[in-house]
């Protein structure tokens, strides 16, 4: 049977919390079957109602609601990964409709082939606006997209020259947005530079499709994507050997992301991280986890997410959010503790349930039940004894609950 700690670790990495019922399910199913079950979930995402009139705010609500669901969280997690990888910001792309379409596209391709995803992203109108692709014309090439596609989206710096970059920008000329057709992709041949080009080891009349194919099949791209996947899913810095192993899987499977992700989650290196207890939850994981605990949504606002350091559709820069320790500084930790303090005031119904649950318990039993109620099944002996101690001293229950959720362990996956 999968250990309690390992089940919690897996759930927190693959989703946005480890509710007791889910932990028990993972333990019964077994680790591998649980992962395979999540990976088998469908990606079809019909457009939500009334989206045409949406602002970015509604888009965020819609997405957070999806993350909150007990099903499909791994797909949402992977979509969030791509959102931070192929960043696009609502500044300057304020058109919610474009951002929604991009978000759907990332979800639909989240664990397909990397090469296909890259082609789609590069033709995505929100991306074309964000990285100035739509300004990239034969007479005035704009290199912004060409630079980022190589540096951040595929092979990483150091493998190409400025000359390669200029040639790639020429290859992408003519890719733009047709605003008259609701902001869809348009390949304007009149703006495309169809002269001969030299890009890395390719020669000839190259176009954007060919350049992207070349980049997606480069072993350096495989390694780059796998390193980013590792740090996103574990919250730990790059592990050289494991990233190289995953990169070999990436290359052998021709960039099949489902195969790569499965290998990552089932790998010894990932499973070994469970015992470290140093991986810091992202703000979204923390906030959605708290919401699951008390089964309430949106008792916090968008401004809270911003102060915590992770508001979807507003990444800090084109390189996306930094994972792990970067989430926590003296201000964001203070904001987390403030939020927990607020939550305990807002949740009286739930608190009554907790009270009922603790009727006639010994301090040891009460500690167990409190940790169960706050989704800290895998709490350390230190936390257990602090909670039991607080209970036996007759500390008010809401305060004990606040202590658990403010504890360092509650900040960790």
């Amino acid at each position: 049977m999968t250990s309690l700690r390992e089940a919690c670790w897996l759930l927190r990495c693959c989703g946005f919390g480890a509710a007791p019922r889910q932990v028990q399910w993972v333990r019964r199913q077994g680790y591998t079957r649980a992962v395979d079950h999540w990976l088998s979930q469908t990606s079809a995402t019909p457009a939500p109602e009334g989206w045409a009139r949406w602002r970015v705010q509604s888009l965020i609500d819609w997405w957070l609601e999806r993350m909150f669901q007990p099903q499909g969280f791994l797909l949402e997690k992977m979509t969030l990964f791509w959102h931070g990888f192929f960043t696009t910001s609502s500044d300057p792309v304020f058109a919610a409709a474009l951002l929604l379409r991009q978000n759907q596209m990332l979800r639909d391709n989240a664990w397909g082939r990397f090469g296909d995803l890259l082609q789609q992203v590069s033709r995505d109108p929100a991306m074309l606006v964000y990285l100035d692709g739509f300004r990239n014309k034969k007479a005035h090439p704009n290199e912004n997209f060409a630079r980022e596609v190589m540096e951040l989206f595929t092979v990483g710096p150091g493998l190409y020259s400025e000359e390669d970059l200029r040639e790639a920008a020429r290859a992408f000329t003519g890719w733009g947005v047709d605003w008259l057709r609701g902001g869809t992709f348009r390949y304007n041949l009149r703006e495309h530079d169809d002269g001969p080009k030299k890009f890395l080891d390719l020669r000839g009349n190259l176009d954007g499709t060919r350049v992207l194919q070349r980049l997606a099949s480069d072993p350096a791209c495989a390694l780059h994507v796998c390193q980013r996947l590792w740090s996103f899913f574990t919250g730990h810095p790059t592990e050289v050997q494991e990233s190289q192993r995953l990169a070999r899987v990436f290359v052998a499977s021709h960039g099949n992301l489902k195969v790569v992700l499965r290998n990552l989650l089932l790998g010894d290196a990932f499973r070994a991280c469970a015992s470290l207890r140093t991986s810091i939850k992202s703000p979204l994981e923390y906030v959605l986890g708290l919401s699951q605990v008390a089964d309430v949504r949106s008792w916090w606002g968008m401004n809270d997410l911003k102060k915590l350091g992770q508001l979807p559709f507003l990444p800090p820069n084109v390189a996306g959010w930094s994972q792990g320790d970067g989430w926590i500084n003296t201000a964001t930790l203070g904001e987390r503790l403030r939020l927990v303090r607020q939550m305990q005031h807002a949740r009286s119904n739930w608190m009554q349930k907790v009270r009922d649950l603790l009727q006639g318990c010994s301090p040891g039993q009460a500690a167990e039940r409190l940790l169960w109620s706050t989704h800290q099944l895998d709490a350390s002996p230190e936390l257990r004894s602090v909670v039991a101690d607080a209970y036996s001293h007759g500390r008010p229950l809401p305060e004990v609950v606040q202590l658990i959720l403010a504890s360092p362990e509650a900040q960790l996956r």
């Binding site: 500044d91 911003k306 084109v318 201000a331 403030r338 303090r341």
Partner: protein, 368 residues
């Protein structure tokens, strides 16, 4: 002359012959405060070429007239909202660099801020400074989006002004949390909690109504309380993205900046810190010369930059950019912003600017 060469000069003179110039008086470590006016401050309506007919032509509704500016040079005046800063200008404690930007400007807030924060590299210039010098840094504002500024160094002390203090919680809980964090399996969590506790006593006073109000004022007041805890401070303040109805909004934003800075400067003087401090006020870009159809201005290019401090040689630097020889509708830059960074790094903080900025930028002599 940098600090080291100056000190070498002192040794040659011999202690007996030494007549101490004022700036060799014993003082605390030199500090740097950066204020980012986020959104793209309209430089043309900050340092105003009010007598230039091209200015009036480009700004039919937004142009400020002579009685709406504080004249500081022939044909040039500061927006009247900057009046609280006038005494500093008159005392020669405020340098204004005209036409600061870069040769390849970008009109996205995001990309351009990134450029100013990283000096064109992948890491933050303040992060590299902190990393090479081992200095503690601090960020005091409501923003979380400055992280590129601080890489690769350890995260700065971060304070959101007005955040309720930790000691709202009962004593027993604070003690229990302190114990748990001290023993946490994550060293980073443990350290951050400890720093937060150290900040607690410093921030104890920063509560209540007096600390609310305009964000920059709250930030700078809070910053002064934290003075001893860091060498370099960064503050972001918004309100400068004036695409429409600019007149009122811009006046309001500048008023708040001027009042906050003047109050901060007085606070520094009261603590005898004026001569240890340099304050750089910048924005990620200026705005288009031609006003738009909504009585506002769109994202533009070069803009003036302000440097304040007891050792600053206060005057106008460079020439006002031409209003007719434009780059894509924007003012051209006269100084690259990294030249100012280099002057701060070399002449103010006595560090090596080349490694921090990733290249050699010609300094601008601006210290007294």
């Amino acid at each position: 002359m940098n600090r080291r060469r100056f000190l070498q000069g002192l040794t040659l003179l011999g202690a007996g012959a030494l007549v101490r110039p004022t700036w060799a008086l014993p003082s605390g470590p030199r500090k740097l405060v950066l204020v980012h006016l986020f959104g793209g401050n309209d430089g043309l309506n900050t340092l105003v070429p009010w007598s230039d007919p091209d200015y009036r032509k480009a700004r039919p509704t937004l142009a400020l007239s002579r009685d709406q500016v504080l004249p500081i040079a022939s044909g040039l005046g500061l927006h009247a909202a900057l009046k609280p800063l006038l005494p500093l200008w008159e005392r020669g404690k405020m340098a204004i660099f005209q036409g600061v930007g870069c040769s390849q400007p970008d009109r996205s807030h995001f990309v351009s801020s990134h450029l100013w924060h990283t000096a064109g590299g992948r890491e933050g210039w303040l992060g590299r400074l902190a990393d090479t010098q081992g200095w503690q840094t601090a960020q005091v504002d409501q923003e979380s989006a400055c992280e590129a500024l601080w890489t690769p160094a350890q995260s700065p002390l971060c304070v959101h002004p007005g955040q309720p203090p930790l000691d709202q919680d009962p004593q027993w809980m604070q003690q229990a949390l302190e114990g748990l964090y001290a023993g946490s399996s994550s060293r980073h969590l443990g350290q951050t909690y400890k720093q937060m506790n150290e900040l607690k006593s410093k921030l104890a006073r920063c509560q209540g109504e007096d600390w609310q109000g305009p964000p920059l004022r709250a930030s700078l007041r809070t910053l002064l309380e934290l003075w001893s805890m860091a060498r370099v401070f960064h503050v972001t303040v918004g309100g400068f993205d004036t695409h429409g109805g600019q007149d009122k909004g811009h006046r309001q934003a500048l008023t708040e900046v001027a009042q906050a800075l003047a109050e901060f400067y007085t606070g520094l003087q009261a603590k005898g810190l004026e001569n240890d401090t340099a304050i750089l006020v910048y924005s990620e870009f200026g705005r288009r010369v031609q006003e738009n159809a909504s009585q506002g201005t769109d994202h533009g290019g070069a803009a003036p930059l302000f440097l304040l401090g007891g050792r600053v040689q206060g005057k106008l630097y460079g020439e006002h950019p031409s209003l007719t020889r434009l780059q894509d509708g924007d003012l051209k830059c006269h100084w690259d912003f990294r030249q100012i960074y280099a002057s701060l790094l070399e002449d103010w903080l006595a560090t090596d600017s080349t490694s921090i900025l990733g290249g050699r930028f010609e300094k601008i002599p601006c210290w007294s």
